[in-house]
């Protein structure tokens, strides 16, 4: 044994004279680090109640609950996370996956309470001392990308190639691409509330991710008998609220719907609609118009055992949706596949049958119910000097008359006035017919009602956009026309509405063109309504007011689609048709007591 081994341990006593390493709590406490994973905070303004935190929590510590001052609205479930600290393990997975980044952890780690029940609370709602501490663990989606990822890009024809023909721009996903894209869905279901038809979106996305395309198609038809059309040209309210869109890109719900439908030659085979309907002999319903609303009502009524008779003045049927949308967005080749479902479902189509007021009166007696889905048939008038000149045309009628075959000569330079989908469709159609195209719109590009994607694609195809231009007049200039406009500046509306374009100066700009297309909206033609019926309805701005069941207030008569107020898109019309069908089944307004 060495002498130093006996002495050296005692040198530790020298520490008695030195500063202690420990912290004399509670006189002094150590604050949590900047990244400390302490108690939860939730920014309620940002939270959309998607429930992602609840789903990822491995301890079931988070439950989504209704809170008093938060109501469910489109894109927000109104639910907020309640965190139970008897279960929480502070792993912060909930933070890293939070789709909006609203949830974070403070750097507080100490909390004393006499009441054990308060250990489960709703961050953000139940006020806590750490609600406003800036430090703590918060999301960094730039590193992990768990809260939002990019979407699988859709293969599309190149802008410089696609303007030469009417070939469809969008090429469609491959099964591998579709599986990856569909698997991005976090199954929150916010999209379901945003979709006018409340389609089973999370369920069918999961089916597509699993490769069960037939299952997906069956789910489509629960709420939407025109999935392929919607898969191509839907306004996709669903994607606008997608939780993945906050810090990444929304799931390509529309393209995936299209993908699943494309996997089958015949959708009626998948659905087995030609087998006997769910029930039979429930009554007879007349449907005016074969647009999305009429078809939707016809499909669901037929499936519910009604005899659905659909009338259309057109020889082919299909309505505005089928005919006015150009070939490069919605190829006519898919029409037959779509109609096959309705025919096999048992709907009776009466094409080339113009319905007049006497017919409606008769129908209201002969049929158990009448569903009016005649849509908007007239192009709105536009009043500037020179609109009466030859060469000034209505874009809507132009699109309805199959311009793709090149039978209408539009000249070398075309002007389109308007900023909606009709304007974009007309402009891009004319471009494909070989013309140079100018779009004149009063407001800014961001104010255009057209689908964002259509505007983008039109820009890619080098269409000359002239936003903030106020039309003044059109004059004849030899064989051509001259369009005069003034530049506008945007003035904010003091009442909080959207900014108004106001003429900036006295300067008039003129451009020479061959054809002017007016695309400033469509209106209805209610001439077919008998007066006795029309006077009982509430008609405003040419649109028939209906209740939540699409009921017009006149016995047995329902209306839906563009002829009623609403968003005026395909999916809303489909939802209208479905609601009317359900209301007719439930028979609330029928004399015949249908069981």
């Amino acid at each position: 044994m060495k002498f130093t081994d006996i002495v050296s341990p005692f040198l530790a006593w020298s520490r008695a004279a030195k500063k202690a390493d420990t912290i004399p709590y509670p006189q002094k406490s150590n604050p949590g680090s900047d990244r400390y994973r302490g108690f939860h905070r939730n920014d309620l303004d940002k939270c959309i109640g998607c429930g992602r935190c609840e789903e990822i929590c491995q301890n079931l510590a988070i439950g989504m609950v209704q809170v008093e001052d938060s109501q469910p609205v489109k894109g927000d479930s109104g639910l907020r996370p309640l965190v139970d600290y008897g279960r929480c393990c502070w792993c912060a997975l909930c933070i890293d996956v939070c789709s909006t980044g609203s949830l974070s952890l403070s750097n507080s780690y100490s909390w004393t309470t006499y009441n054990a029940d308060t250990c489960a609370y709703i961050p953000g709602t139940d006020e806590k001392a750490w609600d406003h501490t800036p430090k703590g663990y918060s999301q960094d989606n730039s590193i992990l990308k768990w809260a939002g990822s990019p979407r699988v890009s859709m293969p599309a024809a190149r802008p410089d190639k696609r303007v030469d023909s009417f070939e469809e721009v969008i090429r469609g996903y491959s099964p591998e691409q579709a599986a990856i894209e569909a698997a991005r869905c976090i199954q929150c279901g916010l999209c379901v509330t945003a979709c006018p038809a409340h389609m089973h979106i999370p369920e069918y996305l999961r089916a597509i991710a699993d490769g069960d395309y037939a299952g997906a198609v069956k789910l489509f038809f629960d709420n939407n008998p025109l999935p392929e059309m919607c898969g191509k040209v839907c306004t996709r309210e669903c994607e606008s609220v997608c939780a993945m869109g906050y810090q990444g890109e929304a799931i390509a719900i529309r393209w995936l719907k299209r993908f699943a439908c494309e996997q089958f030659e015949s959708l009626s085979d998948v659905l087995a609609v030609d087998e006997k309907p769910l029930e039979q002999g429930r009554g007879k319903v007349a449907i005016i118009g074969t647009g999305p609303a009429g078809l939707s009502a016809a499909y669901y009524l037929s499936r519910m055992g009604f005899e659905a008779h659909v009338f259309d003045k057109d020889e082919e049927g299909g309505g505005v949706a089928q005919h006015a949308i150009p070939e490069y967005r919605l190829p006519a080749a898919g029409y037959e596949k779509q109609m096959d479902v309705f025919r096999k479902a048992g709907a009776h189509f009466h094409y080339g049958t113009e319905v007049n007021d006497a017919d409606i009166l008769k129908m209201s007696d002969d049929y158990d119910a009448v569903f009016i889905a005649a849509g908007l048939q007239k192009s709105s008038e536009f009043r500037i000097p020179g609109v009466e000149l030859p060469g000034v045309k209505h874009a809507f009628y132009f699109l309805m008359n199959k311009p793709e075959d090149g039978s209408i000569d539009v000249g070398a330079r075309v002007l389109v006035i308007g900023g909606g989908n009709v304007a974009m469709d007309t402009a891009r159609t004319c471009l494909r017919l070989g013309s140079e195209v100018v779009i004149s719109y009063r407001r800014r590009i961001v104010d255009m009602p057209a689908d964002e994607e259509e505007i983008e694609e039109a820009m890619e195809e080098s269409i000359d956009f002239r936003p903030q231009t106020i039309p003044i007049r059109i004059e004849k200039a030899g064989q051509r026309l001259k369009y005069f406009y003034a530049e506008a500046e945007m003035i904010d509306d003091p009442n909080g509405g959207r900014p108004k374009p106001v003429r900036k100066d006295d300067i008039e700009h003129g451009i020479e063109i061959d054809t002017v297309f007016l695309a400033i909206g469509q209106s209805s033609d209610l001439g077919f309504l008998p007066e006795v019926i029309a006077e009982k309805m509430t008609i405003q701005w040419g649109e028939i007011e209906v209740d939540k069941d699409q009921y017009t207030g006149v016995k047995n008569i329902y209306a839906g689609g563009d002829i009623t107020p609403g968003a005026g898109d395909i999916i809303t019309a489909i939802a209208d048709g479905m609601r009317a069908a359900k209301a007719i089944r439930d028979g609330g307004n029928l004399i015949v007591n249908l069981k």
Binding site: M1, K2, T4, D5, I6, S8, P9, L11, A12, R15, D21, T22, G32, S33, D34, R35, Y36, R37, E55, I56, Q58, C89, W90, C91, A92, L93, D96, V97, L105, G136, Y137, D140, I143, L144, K145, W146, S149, I180, A183, R184, C185, I186, Q187, A209
Partner: protein, 372 residues
């Protein structure tokens, strides 16, 4: 009647599970004659957690905050093993910077646990000051972990695909400050423990692990290295950035508790050296590879065994995927299984009753590894 458990000749005693001298939730049932142990049986079954079964019911991503709980002093090895397994099964490429940060984290954890174990070894023979100092030094490292990951004990920092956050600003500087601070105090630590006649009396020649037992029982880590073996996964099958770091495996020839304490002491120096070198060669770039939607994350069917060098030796995970959202099987293989059952039972026979916890701590047994 077996002579070693003869009730007329031996005393029967349960050591643990509630005893400060036992390393965790296990107990040793002993029979002894006078002061000398005649038979020892290790009992486990007090943990009631079932990590492996829990993992089969959780999504792939939900498991990484769970696995760290298998080991309190050194949770990162579990995160590392699990992440390695998931990455290999799913073919995920981990960014270069993430690999180096992981190596830094693993080495910091080893540093912390060796400080505590070295001090703890003194604690088992009544040198409480050594244990306190070990805990204190470890706490300085825990401050670093708090700064890095947001938690002191369960870091949940190494996740499949990389690490959860980049190093915070000034972290390298703080690490070096802590290394310097502890480094300055280490000579004092040595004087207290290694140059201590009491410690030497109680550890030199006590708790002999015979070199031939190493391959017979599959001993690893400080237990094997204290008996002359050069086993070290960091060297034998390098993972993360260890292949790019040149270092010598620490070995001792004494085979006793003192050698194993010396191994830990020298590992502290090695870790400090490695940490400094890792910080010097830390590359830039991203710290995490992108993962698919976490709740829809399916991993292709397959099986894999991954291993790392923990402070107790080779630590492995066997993971099986059946292509679903959750692991089909996760098996955790910790060195304590052999060290606390086979080896401890063998070593205790003939040992002095006062040396039981001394021996047990020298093996750094950890019951959650045995009873996963």
């Amino acid at each position: 009647m077996n002579a070693s458990t003869d009730p007329l000749k031996t005393t029967h005693l349960f050591f643990g599970p509630q005893h400060p001298g036992v390393t965790g939730n296990m107990s040793v049932e002993m029979w002894f004659d006078g002061d000398e142990i005649t038979k020892a049986i290790t009992h486990v079954g007090y943990l009631h957690r079932g990590f492996e079964k829990l993992m089969e019911r959780r999504l792939w991503i939900q498991n990484f905050p769970l696995v760290c709980r298998i080991c309190v002093p050194e949770p990162d090895i579990n995160e590392e093993c699990y992440a390695l397994a998931v990455e290999k099964l799913d073919g995920i490429e981990v960014p270069e910077r993430a690999r180096w940060i992981r190596t830094l984290v693993l080495e910091l954890a080893r540093f912390a646990v060796n400080l505590m174990a070295f001090g703890g070894q003194a604690g088992t023979i009544g040198l409480g000051t050594g244990a306190m100092w070990g805990i204190t030094f470890r706490d300085f490292v825990l401050d670093l972990f708090e700064e890095l990951s947001g938690a002191r004990v369960y870091h949940m920092y190494i996740q499949p695909g990389g690490v959860r956050r980049d190093l915070p600003e000034g972290f390298e500087k703080h690490v070096l400050e802590v290394l310097d601070k502890i480094g300055k105090r280490l000579p004092e630590f040595d004087r207290l423990i290694l140059n201590n006649s009491v410690f030497k009396d109680r550890t030199v020649g006590v708790g002999i692990v015979k070199p031939e037992w190493i391959s017979e029982l599959g001993l690893v880590g400080p237990v094997a290295r204290g008996s002359g073996s050069g086993r070290d996964v960091r060297k034998d099958a390098p993972y993360e950035a260890y292949g790019e770091l040149d270092f010598d495996v620490v070995t001792e020839q004494g085979c006793d508790i003192y050698s194993r304490a010396l191994i830990r002491r020298r590992e502290i120096d090695l870790s400090m050296d490695l940490i400094r070198r890792i910080l010097e060669s830390m590359p830039g770039g991203p710290v995490a590879a992108p993962l698919p939607n976490l709740t829809e994350w399916r991993i292709p069917p397959g099986e894999i065994y991954t291993r790392v060098e923990s402070s107790r030796g080779e630590y492995g995970y066997y993971v099986v995927s059946d292509g679903s959202l959750k692991p089909r099987r996760v098996h955790v293989r910790g060195p304590s299984y052999v060290h606390a059952l086979t080896l401890l039972e063998r070593m205790l026979v003939g040992a002095n009753i006062a040396d039981v916890s001394n021996i047990m701590v020298s093996l750094t047994t950890c019951p959650p590894e045995i009873e996963r």
